[in-house]
């Protein structure tokens, strides 16, 4: 019981610090995923407009290589190019977010029934109209699940950003290791897990709402 009491005191004392680190953490994740969505969804759409061939294979190949490179190696390699701190962290995590987002956008649009597209063409929809009115809404569940998946993993990986001076919850873990403070290590860990679970829950909720709506529309 003593340890719980100690921990509670520790939490009260360090709450501002924990909140600040969580804020930094969420900002890095948010920026990375936002940029990832921007680039990956656009690229995904463009790829579906082209014939399947060497270009889409090449794009997927490159994005897959980003995914394969060890996180700390990628973060470190960006240091000489982008300096220390937020920039390399956001950029590295952005590269990681690409594959799940791109894959889900691409297959989401590809999955759309050709018959639906043909009939849209039949009633005179332009290519843009087809994209916005038919394909994107139908592909949205795929894209959302890609966002959900990638965000949860990026929340976990963002802890490593602290190693290159970008802050976030990893700072608590590193400070805990440096000062032999187990409460700090524990708090950093739990905060990151809770953050991931909460975001997973929220995005899951949005995904469900979205699919319910589209079912009602049908």
């Amino acid at each position: 019981m003593k340890i719980l009491q100690d921990y509670f005191e520790f939490l009260q004392l360090r709450l501002p610090d924990i909140a600040a680190r969580s804020g930094e953490h969420l900002m890095i994740v948010g920026l990375a995923v936002f940029l990832g969505c921007l680039v990956a969804i656009t690229t995904g759409i463009i790829l579906t407009r082209m014939k399947e061939g060497p270009i889409s294979g090449l794009v997927f190949g490159i994005v897959n290589i980003f995914q394969t490179i060890p996180t700390i190696a990628l973060l470190a390699m960006l240091l000489p190019l982008l300096g220390i701190g937020l920039k390399p962290a956001v950029f590295a995590l952005f590269l990681y977010s690409l594959l799940p987002l791109l894959r889900n956008t691409y297959s989401g649009i590809k999955e759309v029934d050709q018959g639906v597209i043909e009939s849209a063409r039949g009633i005179g929809y332009s290519s843009m109209q087809r994209l916005w009115k038919i394909e994107m809404p139908l592909a949205l569940p795929f894209i959302l699940s890609g966002i959900r998946l990638t965000t949860v993993y990026i929340i976990s990986w963002t802890t490593l950003a602290a190693l290159i001076g970008a802050g976030g919850l990893g700072d608590l873990i590193i400070a805990g290791m440096a000062n032999n403070d187990n409460f700090l290590i524990f708090t950093g860990t739990i905060s990151a897990i809770i953050l991931a679970l909460v975001v997973d829950f929220i995005l899951g909720f949005i995904t469900r709402k979205n699919s319910e709506q589209s079912q009602q529309a049908n």
Binding site: M177, A178, N180
Partner: protein, 297 residues
């Protein structure tokens, strides 16, 4: 036999074999922190111990802090490490406040023996502490050797220091100017990695640097002697677990071989080779030992 079972059992067998082969008792583990000179000393002692004995030495570098290293020594994960006498002021055991070199060293040697069962060897010869530095040409022109030599000029000088020191109450900037009765024209706080360049490019006149940083050489900066003893002493010493010294008594003599042998200039030069000339610690360590004639064939 199906393939799956074959692969599984082969993997299991390999695992068992490897695990049984891995536990070797005669390995000495030397810990090092994130900065270069601790890694150089670890590499030097690895070469030295492997040269003199049949023991195998593993270096464990990039450990986050001295506290982490000392704690790992407590749980036998590390046997030997480089430490600085001034660490006693980081709440390891009760200490008497002083800046007297002898007294701090003595407290470190007695305290860590009693509370941590560690042997704190006599100093290697250099100190890595905060140091006031000026450009060499200015020092020559004005005849600066000691910090108090700045007395007649300091009110016109600009001072660059790292931001954390600026904030520190007991041993930071406010206490420092009081101790030396200084009143700098202006004090800039910046990241400690920027002070060297700031001094070299004449943006500021005096900077607070780390005394063994090779950039002092790179940027031609001169360290002034802390003649009124404001900064706590940070004499570098090797520290080893008493138990490992009992198990391998020959280590006592080997570790002592470098006692008093490495002055500030030497360690700064070694740091320079690694940090500025981009060589590995191992290369630099070997070269150092060969030059000193300490490696026996």
């Amino acid at each position: 036999m199906p393939k799956a079972i074959n692969i599984l059992s082969a993997a299991l067998l390999a695992l068992l074999l490897a695990l049984s082969g891995c536990s070797s008792k005669d390995t000495i583990k030397i810990g090092a922190a994130t900065y270069t000179e601790t890694k150089i000393m670890a590499a030097i002692y690895k070469e030295l111990i492997e040269n003199r004995t049949d023991l195998k030495v593993d270096v464990i570098p990039d450990l986050l802090s001295n506290s982490m290293i000392l704690k790992s020594m407590g749980r036998d994960d590390i046997d030997i490490a480089l430490m600085y006498s001034g660490v006693i002021f980081n709440n390891f055991f009760p200490v008497k406040q002083t800046t007297d070199r002898e007294s701090v060293l003595q407290q470190a040697q007695e305290g860590f023996d009693r509370h941590y069962n560690l042997k704190w060897f006599d100093p290697l010869g250099w100190e890595n502490t905060y140091a006031l530095t000026v450009r060499e040409d200015v020092a020559k022109e004005k005849g600066f050797n000691n910090v108090s030599d700045l007395q007649n000029y300091q009110s016109e000088m600009e001072f660059g220091v790292d931001s954390s020191w600026m904030e520190r109450k007991q041993d930071g900037y406010p206490a420092f100017i009081k101790h030396y009765d200084f009143n700098f024209q202006k004090a800039y706080s910046m990241d400690v990695n920027l002070v060297y360049e700031a001094a070299a490019s004449k943006n500021v006149d005096v900077v607070l640097a780390y005394s063994t940083d090779p950039r002092l050489i790179e940027y031609k900066l001169k360290t002034l002697k802390d003649d009124k003893r404001f900064f706590p002493p940070y004499d570098a010493s090797m520290v080893a677990r008493n138990e490992i010294l009992e198990a391998h008594p020959e280590l006592n003599e080997i570790i002592d071989e470098l006692t008093g042998k490495i002055d500030e200039e030497t360690i700064t030069r070694l740091n320079y080779e690694v940090d500025i000339n981009n060589r590995s610690e191992r290369d630099v360590a070997r070269e150092f030992l060969q030059q000193k004639g300490l490696l026996k064939k």
